[in-house]
């Protein structure tokens, strides 16, 4: 990649930040060139973000219909899935999967709720009284 090939696509994801790319100058020497983003990369990131957003919207609908606990919504909203949420809370994966159901969620102890609330950066009340 030469300096004049460094993409400057003003990526909406970078929001004005610029990332360092390595590219060749006119004399064939590598230097750092700040890039405002690349369309290809923006597409890929936007897809990943949109996939989580879609999963969160579906989870919210399920929670409202009483088919899922609010944890499922918060999980996707915070760009997690059940294995990563298990790691971040320090719970077992089977526990997390159980807590995605409304019944087991309603019976959760304060201590377990706090683990979820910490990961989601919210209070226990906000997590419990989500309606």
């Amino acid at each position: 990649m030469r300096h004049d090939e460094v993409p400057q696509d003003a990526s909406a994801i970078l929001q004005g930040e610029r990332k360092a790319l390595y590219a060749l100058d006119q004399d064939g020497r590598y230097t750092v060139v700040p890039s405002s983003g690349w369309g290809a990369e923006e597409t890929a990131t936007a897809m990943a973000v949109a996939a989580y957003a879609q999963a969160a919207a579906e989870a919210l609908a399920r929670a409202r219909a009483g088919q899922a606990s609010p944890i499922e919504y918060h999980m996707y909203h915070h760009r997690l899935d059940s294995p990563t949420l298990a790691q971040e809370t320090g719970l077992w994966h089977w526990q997390v999967k159980r807590h995605l159901r409304p019944g087991p969620f309603a019976r959760l102890r304060e201590r377990t709720l706090r683990r979820y609330a910490e990961v989601f950066g919210m209070t226990i009340d906000e997590l419990r009284d989500w309606r």
């Binding site: 994801i13 360092a20 290809a40 597409t43 890929a44 897809m47």
Partner: protein
């Protein structure tokens, strides 16, 4: 713990309060370059990356990250720090904390003493990151080098152009998240700086190690063979049981690992080419220059692969076999590069 049995006689550290930020492609190599420079050894980011043999390609179809196979272009977090210790005869002080208050107090004490330190953090909780870039990646690295009057932290996050300010609470949360690569408040800084560095043998060892790993790992998931395995897999997408949406998200995931995650472009290949160029300058050996040319071509091939992948993601094309061929070309160019270095 403020005992300070350091021997920094290998270099002359810059005076306290004069930390110089420099924009880097990758967090860990950027932090190590920044710390070494501050403590008296001028090592570029590319040299730090190359000497630590941090370049790799790994495709593990049976290890899922966020629901997709793991694809990595560099060695696991921590490799650059420990790799540089070995390559340079450097010794780092590292401390992780079970007691979070101690972790906070120690950081403040280091900064009060005018000592910039490396920190491991989660990207997700750092408020100065653009929201769309905040994913749960717990092995981000940055340098803390001071605090302002309000008690906010002055951070040199190498992937940002300028130093940033960060309030205490989000930084604390970012240092003590749980999960994969949990940072546990890790603080690190050079404990013993090397004296004079004999670059020629260090470069020879490091490039040979990378080349051997990329050419001769006897598994079809690592190195050039790993690239070819992924190329075949992509060419066969979308497969029975996996819909087109999954296939496109998988391609997006590969591109993100290659470009978004602070790689300097082309999945660290240009950064490594820059290292090879420095290696040629320092040693006068022509083969490093030849390898640099080839690696640059490989990086360009990776960029073409990503550009093609993006058109697939945008549903403008569904020619997955062409994507596989583009990746095959990356494998070919990389193989030629490593043959020059093995």
């Amino acid at each position: 713990m403020m005992d300070d049995p350091r021997d920094l006689s290998g270099g002359t550290p810059r005076p306290a309060g004069t930390f110089v930020h420099r924009h880097a492609a990758h967090c860990e190599s950027g932090v190590m370059s920044g710390l070494l420079r501050h403590y008296g050894l001028d090592v570029s980011e590319a040299m730090a990356f190359g000497l630590a043999s941090a370049l790799v390609f790994v495709y593990l179809p049976f290890v899922k990250v966020g629901g997709f196979p793991l694809v990595a272009y560099r060695m696991a977090p921590g490799t650059i720090i420990s790799g540089l210790e070995r390559a340079l005869g450097l010794r780092m002080h590292r401390r992780r904390y079970r007691n979070q208050d101690q972790g906070r107090a120690d950081l403040n004490a280091h900064l009060a003493a005018g000592r910039p330190v490396g920190l491991q953090v989660s990207v997700y909780w750092l408020p100065y990151f653009p929201p769309e870039m905040r994913f749960h990646f717990n092995a981000h690295n940055l340098i803390a080098f001071g605090r302002n009057d309000a008690g906010d932290y002055r951070l040199s996050d190498p992937v940002f152009e300028e130093p940033v300010l960060c309030a205490g609470e989000p930084l604390h949360k970012a240092r003590f998240v749980r999960g994969l690569f949990a940072p546990k408040g890790l603080i690190y800084y050079p404990r013993r700086m090397p004296g004079r560095i004999d670059y020629a043998p260090a470069i020879r060892r490091a490039t040979r190690k990378t080349a051997q790993r990329m050419l001769r790992t006897p598994l079809p998931y690592i190195g050039v063979r790993g690239i070819r395995t992924l190329a075949r897999r992509l060419a066969a997408l979308p497969q029975a049981g996996n819909d087109l949406r999954y296939a496109r998200l998988f391609v997006a995931q590969v591109i993100r690992m290659q470009e978004e995650i602070g790689t300097g472009g082309g999945g660290f290949r240009f950064l490594y080419a820059s290292f090879l160029q420095e290696a040629a300058d320092l040693t006068g050996e022509r083969r490093y220059d030849q390898a640099m040319q080839r690696m640059t071509q490989a990086g360009d091939a990776w960029r073409q692969f990503a550009a093609l992948g993006a058109t697939l993601c945008r549903a403008k094309s569904s020619d997955f076999p062409a994507l596989g061929s583009a990746l095959e070309e990356c494998a070919r160019l990389e193989e030629e590069t490593y043959r020059l270095l093995a």
